[in-house]
Symmetry: D2
């Protein structure tokens, strides 16, 4: 950590800054330049990053030198993590292919969609039982009944299932019925929820918030990891952008950026990132080419009747065509779509 002092700092203020740093158990290394004096803080700065050093009189700015996360960092854990979701591997050359409708639908439709995406190559089935909706008047999900339908569909076709949790009070039920727990973008900094999910031992799919930096995303992962749950998969799903042409702004550079900073797998979700079926295939391929460990795509067999987010769903045939291209791309890069576990399935 480096503390830059103001041009008009007094000697007394400098000594006070040094004293505060030492009070916090670190050493201060003073460097008096021609125009500014700087204080190098020597020791484990992560212990003091939350301390209000910038509020000390005479301090102009505090520049951290270490990232604020530890468990999520590649520096602490150089090898890429591989997460196992009921037998489906994510990371280390294994691609997740998560597909399914936005919200859990009626059982027959769920089964139909699941069969189609499985045939296309998907290895994880998704569907929301609890739906975060901007409008209180919109469909809010089927709740625990939806969880049951999702589970039964997954069991029927032999695919592990992933579903979103929005409230700490839903965690027990989601943990019971699902193989992977999703934290949605709007809850990426719902710290109560992160802490509670960290106390389960289920793999977590953590979606990046709409205005979250990569550091923010990794700090949210750190919340989960710090509770003892090391099974975290990150997801780039589009951030807030200012071109109304797309729903969000797909930040594909997040993929190599995360890979450099962290050992956790990261997948992409071009459905939410673009909100437009005509852009999803190109963006999915871009994500895989950038090194993503998987692709999350919403698929529905009749988007105009979907309970939620129909306008951004691919049709099953479109998904099958895309999955075939992803497979070839993966092979080109020496990767593979993670196979379903043998024992599973119908």
């Amino acid at each position: 950590m480096i503390i830059i002092l103001k041009p008009d700092v007094t000697e007394e203020q400098i000594q006070h800054v040094v004293a505060r740093v030492e009070e916090l158990g670190l050493r201060a290394h003073l460097s008096r330049g021609t125009y500014r004096t700087i204080v190098g803080v020597i020791g484990d700065e992560q212990k003091v990053q939350a301390d209000p050093l910038r509020a000390i009189p005479g301090v102009l700015e505090v520049v951290p030198v270490l990232p604020p996360y530890k468990l999520a960092s590649r520096e602490a854990h150089p090898q890429s993590s591989i997460i196992d979701v009921a037998g489906v591997k994510i990371g280390g050359g294994n691609l997740a292919m998560i597909a399914g409708p936005c919200a859990v639908e009626e059982p027959e439709r769920m089964l139909r969609i699941a069969q189609m995406v499985k045939a296309a190559g998907a290895n994880l089935f998704r569907g929301g039982a609890y739906k975060p909706r901007t409008s209180p008047y919109a469909f809010q999900g089927q709740g625990e009944e939806g969880l049951r339908i999702l589970r039964e569909t997954g069991d029927a076709v032999g695919m592990p299932v992933v579903t979103e949790v929005m409230d700490p009070r839903q965690i027990d039920a989601v943990d019971r019925w699902a193989d992977m727990i999703q934290i949605g973008a709007r809850n990426m900094q719902n710290f109560s929820l992160l802490t509670e999910v960290g106390r389960t031992r289920k793999p977590v799919l953590l979606k990046r918030g709409m205005s979250a930096t990569i550091t923010d995303l990794l700090m949210s992962a750190e919340y989960i990891l710090s509770q003892g749950n090391s099974q975290v998969v990150l997801c780039e799903r589009g951030i807030k952008g200012w071109d109304p042409a797309t729903r969000n702004l797909y930040d594909v550079a997040a993929v190599p950026l995360v890979k450099g900073l962290s050992h956790l797998p990261i997948i992409v979700d071009p459905s939410h990132a673009t909100g437009r079926p005509d852009l999803i295939p190109a963006c999915a391929l871009a994500g895989v080419a950038a090194g993503a460990d998987g692709v999350h795509i919403e698929v529905h067999d009749c988007p105009e009747k979907a309970k939620s987010d129909g306008p951004q769903a691919l049709l099953p045939a479109q998904y099958a065509e895309l999955a075939a291209q992803i497979r070839k791309l993966a092979e080109l890069f020496g990767k593979r779509i993670s196979p379903l576990p043998e024992k599973a399935g119908s």
Copy 2:
């Protein structure tokens, strides 16, 4: 609602769109232009805004004509609402002056700060017992003990108190101890929390999310209102910006924008909006000049030892000077800082 059809739409698709609109209980009014056909949807479009009309084959775009919120809209409620927080009025020419430390501190310091901000003109005392912190290793607040300290401080000086809730499981306690419940920016779209807070009858201070449009903010207010709690005060606290010079980007235009669209009061929080004490006074005055119904400012008597967000706190003397300027500005616009209730206080 207006449905714009694709240039190559077929007659059959047009008839299907019309049929779908009528199925939803509305009327369709076709307008065939030279280059595009459009369908005007006549009736209460708010019933169908969540329906996936854009997913119907042949549809290029769906343009809503009405705002998606009702209870929060000025169209439905032309007169400006005045919210009463234990005797302190907000809105309709009455300014809230919310002040206090970021996090609840030890009782003696709380009392000292409360006495100073009250003397300066503050009429609501704040402090966080539950703190949403980016880092799992940072101070997370004193919890229910903090609520008790806050309550006792408020009672001692005769100021109503406001504090943040982060988790549905904290609502009972916060409702018991505080006079106003704050929803923080990171939870503005925590829909479970909004729904639960809407079931209390306490005034709510709803902070704008970092990537929330004004429509998003009003939809979150609608969640609370739709549960029967009409006591909502909005707060502009800075949104995500790309200039690292300030913590957030202070969107002062949100004030007149909200006033045009909604009857709910809106206050400003220049502490979080800028993150810099040197910018807070100018931005607070700007907010009042723009028509805000109050100002939320963090004040601490020793920022370098604050448990949270010290670097953005004003010193009590700085706050007193600013409050004096706000008072004059309010008078110029025919408003007043809302007085404390007579019966209250020591």
Copy 3:
């Protein structure tokens, strides 16, 4: 300047970094921490800010300690500058009230609008002869004929005039006819244009670019100042935002931020910042309350027939009402609307 080295930097790389720094005429001060080594660069870092130090092997990051501008900085010039535009002062407590139509219109209309804004209290008359239009098919301005009309209108009512230049080849004409030269937001980083305008001795109104940080804005001012023209007035006119409710995002915090960093005056332009007449008055008042040295507003007596940007113009009566409020606000802060020079005008 501080150079942060990579965790795995070698001793040889460290010595190479030190050697490079010394080659550039500065001194290097090494600080070996527990987790990172940092190099403090001692001397005039502004000499080397453009050098590719971050490209040296082993370097993780380069953190500048000084701002990259000199002539524009308050550190170099502590007293606030006052710019004189043909007798109208801007800065140091004197407010500019720039008003007029977006584009120069026909002479009769120009005279009518000028008389009305002068009566309301405006002290600088504006109108564009060269118009930067997003569409090649839109009205592009009247060119030199427009400059002549603007000049004659200003002379007729006794107001100095300001107009935009878009191309180095227009500078001679604009310098001849106008009292102040405007650089528009889209040209804020048109460095050829900045350099040429810096060679004139006319006051310059430099508008902030839509994606310009405050540092970028001050660097563009530095271009003009470095050519010997010290008469620069900055203008906040809204930056790129993601809420479609307003045309741009009005960054009122830029006003106190610039005042801390620079001695140059800064005014606000709520017309372009919001694009909505219903928001202009509140945002203009907010700017003045935040400390702006003036307000730039588009006024037209028949917006629906304006040659450019009609939908964001105020009517003369609306402008008069706003100007009266600005006058009272200025007085509250011990400032004044700068008077027109006595000799000027009819």
Copy 4:
């Protein structure tokens, strides 16, 4: 075009709107809904998009139905354009591989770099003779001498050359020496420059501005096309983002978005988009997978001594490795790196 009227619009205002629309040579089609009245404008709305219809009393909003560009639209020109740069094809399955240093360097270094990128597979050589630099104190390019060096280098190795123009007064020289003229991001809305470049018959590489929507980008292309120069290649090079981890935000979705809306080729520039060599390869591959018609990358054999932008350059060996991957990826999608013309070269 659809005109949405205010809820309290009067009958007289409605008639006035209709009259104005008819005055402009179009037909108005009124649709009176339950809550709002809308006016469908029938005819060629592109004639009236610049007219201030939103300023007419009673109008709430104006929603365009057609894009504001014509010549650049795929609707007007369904087949993808192929641009020929001195024998190197761009578009229609032919990839441009533009490589070279940011600024033109001394002749020996230029030759060395050119030979290396050519060997790796590059087909267009780049280098800036006129450099837009944020700081007036930074190296501004070698000017016409730089153009000459670039030309001679290109001729020596047999590669067409591309270089940036910043000022209308430089166009003659650039047109004389270069095979393709680049408009940089900061000049994307320098309309004078666009118009002048449109009057040449040289292929133009038009970079997207940092805060330009895709519509803005296509409107800037329209400026060039409307002057008779149809040889335009677009370039996504990163837009303004709020995560300081990367220099800009790489908007890879722009590639399929532009391909849907326009017939013009679009390439990507991951060097400027990320500003970080560690992210460039992944982002380049992502761009090609998303359908880009080429890749623009800065390459330097000694980045720490580069005259400009060294920290974001790839080393020649890194470039060669990346180019090999791009070649394989192109083949997977049935494309090819465009070959150099046979007659050219050393």
